[in-house]
C-alpha cells in the first residue's frame, strides 16, 4: 500500500491558481491523494494534496492557500506518499501542530515507523463491544449517561457554555473503576482560539497529566486545511498508543464545528455540489471516518475512547453538524443554556443526553446492582417534576396537588444536588447513587415503581419527615 519512491519529480507547469487550488500538468506517477510540496518563487515551501488526477491535468489543494503563488516561478514537487505521522513512545508529553510538526520547542520525533493519518478501518468481526465503566466523577455522566471504554460520546454545546471546563474535568478525573491506571490523553484542538489551546495545555501541566498526553493544536489562525488533518493526526497517535502500546486512550477533539466548517469551505472551493446548509453530501461519511476510530479490538489490551466537542450553531440540535454526529456516535451529552443561566454546573440536559453504551457498562460487578433502577427512577422523577413546572407556568401552582408539589421540589433538588457539582469535585459512583436515593426519600415509597423492592429496602434512607 505504501509506495515510497527514492526520487522526486517536479513540475513548473502550473496553469491555474485560484482560491486554494492549483491546476498543474500531470506527470506520470502522481498518485491520488498524495502530499506534494509547493515551492514558491520566494523559496517558501507549502504542503498540498492531490485531489484529482487526470491524464492531462492534476488538481492540487494547497495547505495554507495560494497567496503569493505565481505561475512562472512556483514549482510543485511530488514525493509519492500520503500524509503520515512518525510514531514512537516519545510522542507522549509532546505538542504538535496540525501538520504533525512539534511546536513545543522539543526535537522532532525520530521513528522507523510512519503511520498513514487516515488509518485503516477495523474489521467489524474483530471489534469487541465496549463494556467497561469509566468513572468521570461527574454525577450527570456517571449516574445517567455512562461513558465506557471504546465509546464515542460527544459533548453538544453552545458558544459560551462551559464545555471546555467539563472536558478538562473529565481529563483530570477519568479512571477505570477499581483500577489505578490512568488514561493516556490525546488532545486535538481544531480551529480553537490560542487562549483555549493554551488553557488546555496548562491544565494538563498543572495536573501532571501532560507526561501521558499528546496534543495536536490547530489554532484559529493556522491554515484551514490543517483542521482536517489535526483530528486525523490525533487519532493516529491514539491508535498507535492503544493498539501497539496497549494503552487506554481518551481522545478529546474540539471543536468539531470548526472541522465541519473547514470541510465546507474546502468543498466549496472545489466547486462541489453542496448538501444541507452548504455542507458537503459526504459529511456523514467523513465524520464517521473520524469517530469510528474509537473502539476495542478483541485480543488487544488498549482502547480508544473519543469525546468530540462541538458547539451547535444557534443551539440548534438539528443543525447538520450535531445531527450527523449524533447519527454516528453512541449517544451525546447535551449542555443546556437554561441550566447554565441558573448557575448549574455542569449544565447537562438530562433529557436530551443519552449514552447508548450505558446498559453494558453498569450493574453488579461494574458499578452497583441498583444503578439501572436508580437511573430510570431519577429520570422519571425529574421528567415528572419538569412537566409540572411547565404546566405551572400556564395554570399556576394553585392547581397542583400536594403530590405534585413534592415532585416539583424533587426536580429542583435534583438539579441543585445531583446534577450540579463543583468543578473540582470527584464523586464516586456510589456517592452519585446515594444522592439520588436521598432525593427519592422525599417521594411516596409506592411511587418508586421502577426500582426493585429489594433495593428499596437496602438503599432507601429513612424518610425525613421534616417538610
Amino acid at each position: 500500500m505504501d509506495s515510497m519512491q527514492l526520487f522526486t519529480r517536479q513540475t513548473k507547469a502550473i496553469s491555474t491558481a485560484r482560491r486554494s487550488l492549483l491546476i498543474i500538468e500531470s506527470i506520470p506517477g502522481i498518485r491520488y491523494n498524495e502530499i506534494v510540496d509547493v515551492e514558491l518563487g520566494t523559496g517558501e515551501i507549502r504542503s498540498g494534496q492531490v485531489i484529482e488526477v487526470g491524464k492531462n491535468t492534476t488538481v492540487v489543494q494547497v495547505f495554507g492557500g495560494v497567496s503569493e503563488v505565481d505561475l512562472l516561478n512556483s514549482k510543485v514537487r511530488y514525493k509519492g506518499e500520503t500524509l503520515k505521522l512518525p510514531v514512537s513512545p516519545d510522542i507522549l508529553g509532546r505538542i504538535f501542530d496540525g501538520s504533525g510538526k512539534p511546536i513545543d520547542g522539543g526535537p522532532p520525533i525520530i521513528s522507523q515507523k510512519y503511520q498513514d493519518i487516515n488509518g485503516v478501518p477495523a474489521n467489524p468481526a474483530s471489534r469487541m463491544p465496549p463494556a467497561e465503566f469509566i468513572e468521570t466523577g461527574i454525577s450527570a455522566i456517571d449516574g445517567l449517561n455512562v461513558l465506557v471504554r471504546g465509546q464515542k460520546l460527544p459533548i453538544f454545546s453552545g458558544s459560551g457554555l462551559p464545555h471546555n471546563k467539563i472536558a478538562a474535568q473529565i481529563i483530570r478525573q477519568a479512571s477505570l473503576k477499581g483500577k489505578s491506571e490512568d488514561f493516556a490523553i490525546v488532545f486535538g484542538a481544531i480551529g480553537v482560539s490560542y487562549d483555549d489551546a493554551a488553557h488546555f495545555i496548562s491544565n494538563l501541566e498543572e495536573t501532571g497529566a501532560l507526561s501521558r498526553a499528546v496534543g495536536f493544536i490547530n489554532t484559529a489562525s493556522s491554515p484551514v486545511i490543517e483542521r482536517l488533518s489535526t483530528p486525523r493526526l490525533a487519532l493516529t497517535a491514539a491508535e498507535y498508543l492503544a493498539w501497539e502500546m496497549n494503552m487506554h486512550v481518551l481522545v478529546i477533539l474540539t471543536d468539531i464545528t470548526n472541522y465541519a466548517d473547514a470541510l465546507r469551505e474546502l468543498a466549496a472551493m472545489r466547486g462541489e455540489i453542496p448538501s444541507r446548509r452548504g455542507y458537503p453530501g459526504y459529511m456523514y461519511t467523513d465524520l464517521a471516518s473520524l469517530y469510528e476510530r474509537a473502539g476495542r479490538i478483541s485480543g488487544r489490551e488498549g482502547s480508544v475512547t473519543i469525546i468530540p466537542i462541538l458547539t451547535m450553531p444557534d443551539d440548534d440540535i438539528t443543525h447538520p453538524i450535531p445531527d450527523l454526529t449524533g447519527y454516528i456516535t453512541e449517544g451525546q451529552i447535551v449542555l443546556s443554556r437554561p441550566l447554565d443561566r441558573k448557575r448549574i454546573y455542569p449544565p447537562i440536559d438530562v433529557f436530551l443526553s443519552l449514552s447508548r453504551m450505558m446498559k453494558e457498562g453498569i450493574g453488579e460487578g461494574k458499578t452497583r446492582e441498583d444503578h439501572n433502577n436508580v437511573f430510570m427512577q431519577s429520570y422519571a422523577m425529574y421528567a415528572e417534576g419538569n412537566y409540572l413546572r411547565e404546566i405551572t407556568t400556564v395554570i399556576g401552582s394553585e392547581a397542583l396537588t400536594d403530590r405534585d408539589k413534592v415532585y416539583l421540589n424533587a426536580a429542583d433538588r435534583f438539579e441543585r444536588e445531583f446534577i450540579a457539582q463543583d468543578e473540582n469535585s470527584r464523586r464516586t459512583v456510589e456517592e452519585t447513587l446515594s444522592i439520588a436515593w436521598d432525593i427519592f426519600s422525599m417521594l411516596p415509597e409506592e411511587d418508586l415503581k421502577l426500582i426493585n423492592e429489594a433495593y428499596i429496602k437496602k438503599y432507601l434512607p429513612e424518610p425525613s419527615r421534616s417538610e
Binding site: G29, R31, P121, E272, G281, A383, A399
Partner: protein
C-alpha cells in the same frame, strides 16, 4: 485491458476499455482493487471502486473479469459476516488480521469445508430450475435445500450422498447432449431479482415479538416496511429486536454505513441469545452484512442488493426470511456521492433523480411467492428498511421516496425518546396496510382481536385530543369521565406499548401474551367505568391495587401469565366490592 485515465474519489475513468459491459466487475491497479463499471462512453469506462483509491495513479492497468457482480449462494452463508461486496469478514480476520487492508480477496463461501449432502432424487430424474435435488444441514436450524439453478433443466446423473466442498460436483445435469456439473454453490447477479412462479398477497402475521408492531401495526410475511427516526430514537435497537425475535426461519441483517461498536454488539449478542421457538442460538439463523460507516462508501450501494439476493435464495427454498437494512439513508447517500462524482444533474437535496426507482428496485424484491420447481413450496422475503432523516425531518427525499413504496410505517418519535418511552413508535403517525390482511390470522389467536385493537386505538386518539385541553386548563379541571379516559390511555401506553428490550421476559411478547395484556387493560376500562358510574373517583381507581397488578403484567413469565391475568379478571368480576376488601 485498459488503463486509468482519471481518478476522483471513489470514481475512476479508464481508457482502452472497448468490449466491456456495464456492471462488469473489474480489477484495478497493482493491488487489484475491486470495482464495477457503471457507464461506458466510446472506449472509456466509468468505474466505481469498492475500496479506497488513495495512492492510485494514471496509467495503472484495469482488467475486466467478463462477469457482472455475482452473489455466491450455498451452504456456509448462515452465521457468516460479510462486507458490502460479500467478502467474509471472519475469513479476513483469520487471514489478514484486525484491520481491513485493501485488495484482500476472500470467497464468500469456504472452499475447503465439506458439507454432507443427502440426495432427494435418483439418477435419471428429469429436473428443471428450482427443483430440490437434495439437502445439506447447514446449521442446527437451517436445512439447506440444494436447488437446480433457475433456467437450467435436464436429466440428473451421478448423484450420490457424501461429503462435498461447495465447488465439487454433487451430480451431473444432462441436457441436449451436454453435461453440466451441479455443485452445492450457485452464483446469481446481485442486481437481478431471482425468479418465482407467482406472487401472493401477504396474509400471515410476521411475529416480531414487539407488541406495538404485532398488535397495532402488524407486518405480514412478505411485506415491506420502513422505520424512519432521528438519532437517539432507538432505531437500531428496534431493528435488532426484530432480527432477534422474529418468528422467521432466517434473518439477514444488513448494517449499511452504521456504527462498528453496535455491529460488534449485535454479533456478540447473537452468539449468546437463544431463539424462543427452538431454544437454539440465534447465530444459527442469521446472516450479517457489516459495511460500517468508515468502510468504503461505494460498497454500501451493492451491500443491500447482496443482502436481498441471499434473502431470495433462501426464500426459494420455501422459507420465510426477514431482511433488515440499517440504514437506507446511508445507502442513498452513497448513491448521491457517486452521482456527484459523475456530475449527474442532481434531484432534490443533491440526491440522484433515480433515488425513487432504486429504492423500489430494492423494496419490490420482497414478497410472498410460490417458488420455482418441485416439491411445491411457498416462501417469503420481508423487508424492513431504516431511514435516518436529517434533523428528524420526515419531509426529506429519502423518507418521502420510501413512503411511496412501503406498506407499513413505523414512525419513531424524538419526543417519546426524550420521555424514555421505548419503543418510540408513534401510535398516531404509524400505520400498516397489512392490518386488514392479517385479521384472519389474528382472529384465530383471539376472536375479539379487531375489537380490542380498535378500542385501544380510539382511546389513544382521544387522549391526544384531551392532551391539548390539559395543557390549557390542567388535569384537575377535567370531568371524571375524561380523567378516566386519560388513565386508561396511560395504562395502554405504559403497561402495553412500552416494552423493554433489556428485560428477559418483556423483550419478546408472543401474540397470545400481547392479546392477554391489552384485552385485560380494556376489560379494566369497562370495570373502571362501572365504578365511576357508581360514584367512585378516578383518583381512587388509579390508586387501586388491581391497577398496580396490571402494571406488573409485563414482568410475569410466559408460563405464569395465564394464571396471573385470570386472577385479575376474577377480581374485576367481583365489582366494586373487590376493591373494598383491600386485598385486591
Amino acid at each position: 485491458m485498459g488503463k486509468i485515465w482519471r481518478i476522483s474519489g471513489p470514481v475512476i475513468i479508464a481508457e482502452d476499455m472497448r468490449g466491456s459491459q456495464v456492471y462488469e466487475v473489474v480489477e484495478i491497479g497493482e493491488e487489484r482493487l475491486n470495482g464495477e463499471i457503471i457507464g461506458l462512453e466510446q472506449d472509456k469506462a466509468v468505474i466505481q471502486v469498492y475500496e479506497d483509491t488513495v495512492g492510485l495513479t494514471v496509467g495503472e492497468k484495469v482488467t475486466g473479469t467478463g462477469e457482472i457482480l455475482m452473489a455466491e449462494l450455498g451452504p456456509g452463508l448462515v452465521g457468516n459476516i460479510y462486507d458490502g461486496v460479500q467478502r467474509s469478514l471472519v475469513t479476513m480476520k483469520d487471514e489478514v488480521g484486525d484491520f481491513l487492508h485493501r485488495g484482500v480477496r476472500t470467497y464468500a463461501l469456504d472452499r475447503e469445508k465439506k458439507w454432507h449432502f443427502i440426495p432427494a432424487m435418483k439418477a435419471g430424474a428429469q429436473v428443471e430450475g428450482g427443483d430440490v435435488i437434495g439437502t445439506v444441514q447447514e446449521t442446527g436450524l437451517i436445512e439447506h435445500r440444494i436447488m437446480v439453478p433457475p433456467g437450467m433443466s435436464g436429466v440428473i446423473d451421478a448423484i450420490e450422498e457424501g461429503d462435498y466442498t461447495v465447488e465439487e460436483s454433487i451430480a451431473l445435469l444432462k441436457s441436449n447432449g451436454k453435461t453440466w456439473p451441479l455443485t452445492l454453490m450457485q452464483r446469481w447477479p446481485a442486481r437481478k431479482p431471482r425468479p418465482y412462479k407467482r406472487r401472493f398477497d401477504p396474509q400471515d402475521l410476521l411475529v416480531t415479538g414487539t407488541r406495538v408492531i404485532d398488535y397495532l401495526f402488524p407486518l405480514a410475511l412478505g411485506g415491506k416496511a420502513a422505520i424512519p427516526g432521528g438519532f437517539g430514537t432507538g432505531k437500531t435497537v428496534n431493528l435488532q429486536q426484530m432480527v432477534r425475535w422474529s418468528q422467521t426461519q432466517l434473518n439477514i441483517y444488513v448494517g449499511c454505513g452504521e456504527r462498528g461498536n453496535e455491529m460488534a454488539d449485535v454479533l456478540q449478542s447473537f452468539k449468546e441469545l437463544k431463539d424462543p421457538a427452538t431454544g437454539r442460538y440465534l447465530q444459527e439463523k442469521e446472516i450479517f452484512i457489516a459495511n460500517t460507516s468508515n468502510m468504503p462508501v461505494v460498497a454500501r450501494e451493492i451491500s443491500i442488493f447482496i443482502g436481498i439476493t441471499m434473502a431470495e435464495y433462501y426464500r426459494d427454498m420455501g422459507y420465510d426470511i426477514l431482511l433488515v437494512a440499517d440504514s437506507t439513508s446511508r445507502w442513498a447517500e452513497a448513491m448521491r456521492e457517486i452521482g456527484a462524482r459523475l456530475e449527474e444533474t442532481p434531484g432534490e437535496e443533491g440526491f440522484p433523480t433515480y433515488l425513487g426507482s432504486r429504492l423500489s428496485a430494492f423494496y419490490e424484491r420482497s414478497g410472498r411467492v410460490e417458488c420455482l420447481g418441485s416439491p411445491g413450496r411457498i416462501g417469503s422475503a420481508t423487508v424492513i428498511g431504516a431511514v435516518s432523516p436529517p434533523g428528524a425531518d420526515f419531509s426529506e427525499p429519502v423518507t418521502q421516496s420510501t413512503l411511496r413504496i412501503v406498506d407499513a410505517l413505523y414512525s419513531l418519535d424524538v419526543a417519546l425518546a426524550n420521555r424514555r418511552h421505548f419503543p418510540t413508535i408513534n401510535w398516531l403517525q404509524s400505520y400498516s396496510h397489512y392490518a386488514d390482511s392479517v385479521n384472519a390470522w389474528w382472529e384465530k389467536v383471539s376472536p375479539d382481536y379487531t375489537e380490542v385493537r380498535n378500542q385501544a386505538l380510539i382511546t389513544l386518539q382521544k387522549e391526544a385530543e384531551l392532551e391539548e385541553i390539559v395543557r390549557l386548563v390542567g388535569p384537575e379541571a377535567l370531568p371524571e369521565n375524561d380523567k378516566l379516559l386519560l388513565l386508561i390511555a396511560r395504562m395502554i401506553r405504559e403497561d402495553f406499548l412500552m416494552q423493554s428490550a433489556y428485560h428477559p421476559v418483556d423483550t419478546y411478547s408472543n401474540p397470545k401474551r400481547s392479546h392477554l395484556m391489552l384485552s385485560t387493560i380494556m376489560k379494566f376500562s369497562d370495570f373502571a367505568r362501572g365504578l365511576a358510574e357508581e360514584g367512585m373517583m378516578v383518583s381512587e381507581i388509579s390508586a387501586s391495587r388491581i391497577k398496580q397488578r396490571i402494571s406488573r403484567m409485563k414482568d410475569v413469565p410466559d408460563d405464569e401469565i395465564d394464571q396471573y391475568v385470570d386472577s385479575i379478571r376474577q377480581d374485576m368480576a367481583g365489582g366494586a366490592a373487590s376493591l373494598e376488601e383491600g386485598g385486591v
